[in-house]
């Protein structure tokens, strides 16, 4: 779950990590008011779950409250990468001496958290050469310690005996605490600003592990998915819209991708990616078919290789949906694996012949779509 910048900063503040003075606002009057409270130049930042906000014009500066109101009005009208701007963050404008970069995320290769830091932060961080980037894998059993933070700061080239160096050590320790206590996938501060003696998180990108949300009851919830993606997700389905004409349903991300690859091989174009996961029952199957049909495909391929999923459950669900709701386009079903005999018998009774091979089924689905 991606969090809005202002939410991330609220988490930072709760852990004592320095953030600029400011607040999120939902209209331009509030922007005026917060700018008045801050009493100096402010920055007004669109709150959307997308990078490259700055380059898209989603960040404005204002010297006076009235300017802030005007800037806010402009931003509220905007759309950034397809996302409407509903919320702004109004903050003091920082005096910037240096922009640093600091993040902690999960490194699949080492299977450990990795802390990434650089004295060359800012918008172009991805272009910074490896030699200016400090990476430190954290041993989760050992945890974060002062010496680790100190060594990272040294490697960044920031002197340890300065107020900024000392502050940075504290920030690194705090950031790791947030990372572990909040089930964080990614916490990124870019830029982390040196402003005089202070070091302040000028941005906050925080992503929480979806699988751990159940135990992060104190965090606010952000819904990033579209309504239909969310409906699919709630049923254990993973659904993405594509621009072809063959509806696809399979169980497992790998085999779903394999199905798309095979369709493409035979010259077909998939209308969607739909991974029904393991063990989808009647409601899930019905919803899956509804989602597929919403793309107006010319044919549909259902590709089930049962492991946790049992073939008889899928067959029963399909037959019931077909009977109750009707399916207006030809459907090719491939059904093997756990309880496959029972499943095929159910389909046969409903007059449907299941395919053995994914290859043949895909070929047929492409043919049907091209008719």
């Amino acid at each position: 779950m991606k969090m809005f910048e202002y939410m991330g900063k609220e988490v930072f503040a709760k852990f004592g990590l320095p953030v600029p003075k400011g607040r999120m606002v939902a209209n331009s009057d509030e922007a005026f008011q917060i700018a008045t409270e801050i009493g100096g130049p402010v920055v007004i930042k669109s709150q959307v779950l997308s990078g490259k906000r700055g380059k898209a014009g989603g960040i404005k500066f204002a010297d006076h409250p009235e300017e802030a109101r005007v800037a806010a009005q402009e931003l509220f009208g905007m759309t950034i990468q397809g996302l409407a701007v509903d919320i702004l963050l109004v903050e003091e404008k920082l005096h910037i001496d240096q922009e640093l970069y600091l993040s902690i995320t999960i490194d699949s290769a080492s299977k450990m958290p990795v802390l990434i830091a650089s004295a060359h932060g800012g918008m172009d961080i991805e272009e910074v050469a490896d030699e200016y980037i400090v990476k430190k894998q954290i041993d989760v059993e050992l945890g974060m310690h002062g010496f680790i933070a100190c060594d990272v700061v040294r490697r960044m080239g920031i002197p340890l005996n300065t107020p900024q160096g000392k502050e940075l050590v504290k920030i690194i320790k705090t950031l790791y605490k947030i990372f572990t206590q909040k089930d964080v996938d990614l916490v990124e501060i870019n830029p982390l600003v040196i402003s005089g003696d202070k070091v302040i998180a000028a941005d906050a990108k925080v992503t929480i592990d979806d699988e751990a949300l159940y135990r992060q009851v104190d965090l606010p919830r952000v819904e990033e998915r579209t309504a239909s993606e969310k409906a699919a997700h709630d049923l254990g389905l993973s659904f993405v819209e594509l621009d072809g004409d063959i509806g696809v349903m399979a169980n497992g991300a790998g085999i779903t991708m394999g199905t798309l690859d095979t369709l493409a091989y035979y010259g077909g174009k998939p209308a969607n990616f739909l991974d029904a996961g393991g063990g989808t029952g009647e409601e899930g199957t019905a919803k899956a078919l509804e989602l597929i049909l919403s793309r107006n495909p010319k044919s549909i391929i259902i590709n089930i290789f049962g492991g946790i999923t049992r073939c008889d459950d899928v067959a029963r669900a399909f037959v019931s949906v077909k009977k109750n709701k009707g399916i207006p386009v030809p459907v090719v079903i491939r059904l093997v694996g756990t309880n496959q005999e029972a499943g095929r018998a159910i389909l046969k009774e409903a007059g449907i012949e299941a395919y053995d091979g994914m290859q043949d089924a895909a070929k047929k689905a492409v043919e049907l779509a091209q008719k």
Binding site: E211, A212, G252, I255, D261, G307
Partner: protein, 288 residues
């Protein structure tokens, strides 16, 4: 021969009395796995499917020699269960459960490393040493003994490919699902090394996916391997996935694409096929 588990492996099932645990225990028994005990806290003393159930892994270990454990337990409790198996000294732990918090996964993997144990998964279909022992959830009928080692990230795609192999009379030594999550115990490289060492394995099939960089890492080792590797990477025509901020870009530095993976594997000497059903033909060609 096989890797990790075989006909002499005494298996423990953690969460034996749950719905999934019970169903798959029956399936594993039908495949011939030597399941000697199960656990279910509070149900110690029961006997299910002829298998004694204990309150804890240590209680099971006091009464049986246990070589490997397979976990069928809800995601929120898997960390505790996996650590329990590892702490009791079990050296192979298979975690089938999906949706486990990644911080829990890191904790499990870190502890396993420390105690020199192998964790397979989480979010894996498991492992099958064909004809000898199955730990996990794959359908029994597709796994027959032979000389091809298979290692994969995703489940159903593996059944698909192994099913094709079996249909053509090509059996497997061991089929290993390393798991689909970002943090898993065994890596491709770990399994490739075992297959390279296993005298019975003559060729290896690697079933990868777009995203991450584990196929690229595997390529570095494939260069050194003496045995042929056939690879299929799913997702050539899949929509692009999510990216993890700048940090993800800094870590991956351009890795993770279909083209990149195919290039790395090909350069390492692996034979990359374009579609799942091409695998058996290529094996026949290579192992002729």
């Amino acid at each position: 021969m096989a890797i990790l588990i075989d006909e002499n492996t005494n298996v423990l099932v953690q969460g034996l009395t749950g719905k999934q645990g019970l169903f798959h225990t029956q399936q594993m028994l039908a495949y011939g796995s030597k399941i000697v005990a199960g656990t279910s806290p509070g149900k110690g003393g029961a006997v299910v499917e002829g298998i004694p159930v204990y309150d804890s892994v240590r209680a099971a270990c006091e009464n049986h020699q246990i070589h490997a454990s397979v976990i069928f337990i809800p995601a929120a409790f898997v960390k505790d269960a996996a650590l329990e198996a590892l702490e009791a000294g079990i050296k192979v732990v298979v975690v089938v459960t999906e949706h486990i918090p990644v911080h829990d996964e890191m904790a499990i993997v870190a502890y396993a490393r420390r105690v020199n144990a192998t964790v397979i998964g989480p979010n894996t279909f498991g492992i099958v040493s064909s004809g000898k022992c199955k730990m996990g959830i794959p359908p029994n009928q597709f796994f027959i003994p032979g000389s091809v080692g298979v290692v994969a990230r995703s489940g159903t795609l593996t059944y698909e490919i192994v099913g094709n192999l079996t249909a053509q009379g090509i059996g497997q030594t061991t089929v290993v699902g390393i798991g689909g999550d970002r943090v898993v115990g065994l890596s491709f490289v770990d399994v490739l090394k075992m297959f390279e060492q296993d005298p019975e394995t003559k060729a290896v099939v690697l079933i990868g996916e777009i995203g991450g960089k584990s196929e690229e890492e595997a390529s570095l080792y494939i260069k050194e391997m003496t045995k042929p590797v056939i690879a299929y990477i799913a997702g050539k025509s899949a929509p692009p996935g999510k990216r993890m901020g700048h940090a993800g870009a800094i870590i991956e530095r351009g890795m993770g694409t279909y083209e990149g993976k195919v290039k790395a594997l090909t350069e390492a000497g692996a034979r990359v096929v374009e579609l799942p059903f091409e695998v058996p033909e290529v094996i026949k060609e290579i192992c002729r």
